[in-house]
Symmetry: C2
Subunit: 255 residues, 2 copies
């Protein structure tokens, strides 16, 4: 097994399953911490602030600091900031998105905007969608934090941000630039935050379509763990396989 | 010119343009009324009750009764009633849809439903979309009053029901059966209401993609009037032309 100097790690299905504990996750991350190997959690969840993610990880005895959390909202904010540092943004989304955008110093606007951003919003209204559609039609650059079509909940699979995003896409005919996994954008920005190069970093996740593809798209080696979405049966038919596959993270030896 | 015993007539762009009057529309409909030629207004608007449509038509001096209005909501209610008279329905939509469904005696439900129906809803919430998605995943038949991706307003083009519908389509992977124009469904149900056969009825409208295609799909002759959406330039490139085309309805001679 190759030695990696850095780790990018998915959350749901990899570190926990909803409210359920994944026993091997804590030991795995604890080993990284003990050996002082830099790691960062990369999540498509656009709703939560890093402090809320840290709280959840710690409740499962997984060592984490706010600086080790990278959400699709933070990646979207960083993406805009690099393109146009003084940009005005109209954003549909929850606390995690709004706080990420203001943290990097972007200005919010509703009339004339450089960017329209949509993230998961359980307080979605027709007026929010109407404003976003009008601004995209006027030429604002259209970004979406992530394209997840559904989110698992105790009630079942509920509409994800990818499905909310489709309202704007369908009505304007303009497709957004997605920032989250499986896009390489979030991975490259997370690598920068971690201060590592892609050649020395491993992407760890349970979902072939998001985590593993994101790693592949960004040129990282990948580790698929079968504790979440993608089963062995799902994986066997994929043309391009992850670099490594384990049943759970106790099988992975950190060198 | 062929003589028609019945007329199906579009509203916006044909009888008026938003709040704006179309001068020739009133005389045209008045002639139909005077000659006792049966006519019916067929609209994709799912939000309004027939009485509200009548009020608007009369404000433009266009003779109309509630029995002469056929909305996509009424067509959806009739469609369900024919398929399953005792059906339970979960409906996202405004007053026009809710009243059309209850008028034909359908039962509303949120837990176990035979049908999920979506129409234009400017009070859309995440919870409504979540309920609809869960029910469609559980096997409810998915209907949408109409697929219009945008609606013209004084603010610009705003999201139409086709774009709201896409949330459920994208998150569940299930495409709805659309009822409104350009589907033949609404036309066939309207013809039944009017009591006419398709061979003797003319479909009149301004929008090639909805009105004219609906007429064609249902096997009716069609009259495109250039007072709304479809311009001469738009029309010239269409492979299949309407039966007749006029600049405005004063050019049409009712025999």
């Amino acid at each position: 097994m190759k030695t990696y100097s850095g780790y990018l790690i998915d959350l749901d299905g990899t570190m926990y399953r909803g409210e359920e504990r994944i026993e091997e996750a804590s030991t795995f991350v604890q080993q990284l911490k003990d050996r002082e190997i830099p790691y960062m959690f990369v999540t498509n969840n656009s709703s939560k602030r890093p402090s809320q993610v840290v709280e959840k990880l710690r409740s499962h005895d997984i060592p984490a600091t706010e600086e080790q959390v990278y959400t699709s909202s933070m990646a979207t904010a960083a993406y805009i900031k690099r393109q146009k540092p003084d940009a005005t943004v109209y954003a549909i989304g929850e606390e995690g998105l709004q706080s990420a955008l203001s943290k990097v110093g972007l200005t919010f606007g509703e009339e004339q905007c450089d960017y329209v951003v949509i993230g998961m919003d359980r307080e979605i209204t027709y007026e929010k969608l109407a404003k976003a559609a009008l601004l995209v039609r006027k030429g604002a650059t259209f970004l979406s934090t992530n394209g997840d079509i559904a989110i698992p909940t105790e009630r079942g699979m509920l509409p994800g941000n990818g499905s909310l995003t489709s309202v704007i896409t369908v009505t304007t005919g303009v497709s957004p630039t997605f920032i989250g996994k499986p896009e390489s954008t979030i991975m490259e920005l997370a690598l920068d935050e971690l201060g590592m190069r892609k050649e020395e970093t491993l992407m760890v996740g349970d979902n072939y379509e998001t985590d593993i593809k994101a790693g592949m798209n960004a040129g990282l080696d990948t580790l698929l763990v079968h504790t979440g979405v993608t089963s062995r049966e799902d994986l066997i038919v994929k043309e391009i396989q992850p670099t490594f596959t384990v049943k759970n993270l106790s099988e992975w030896v950190i060198e």
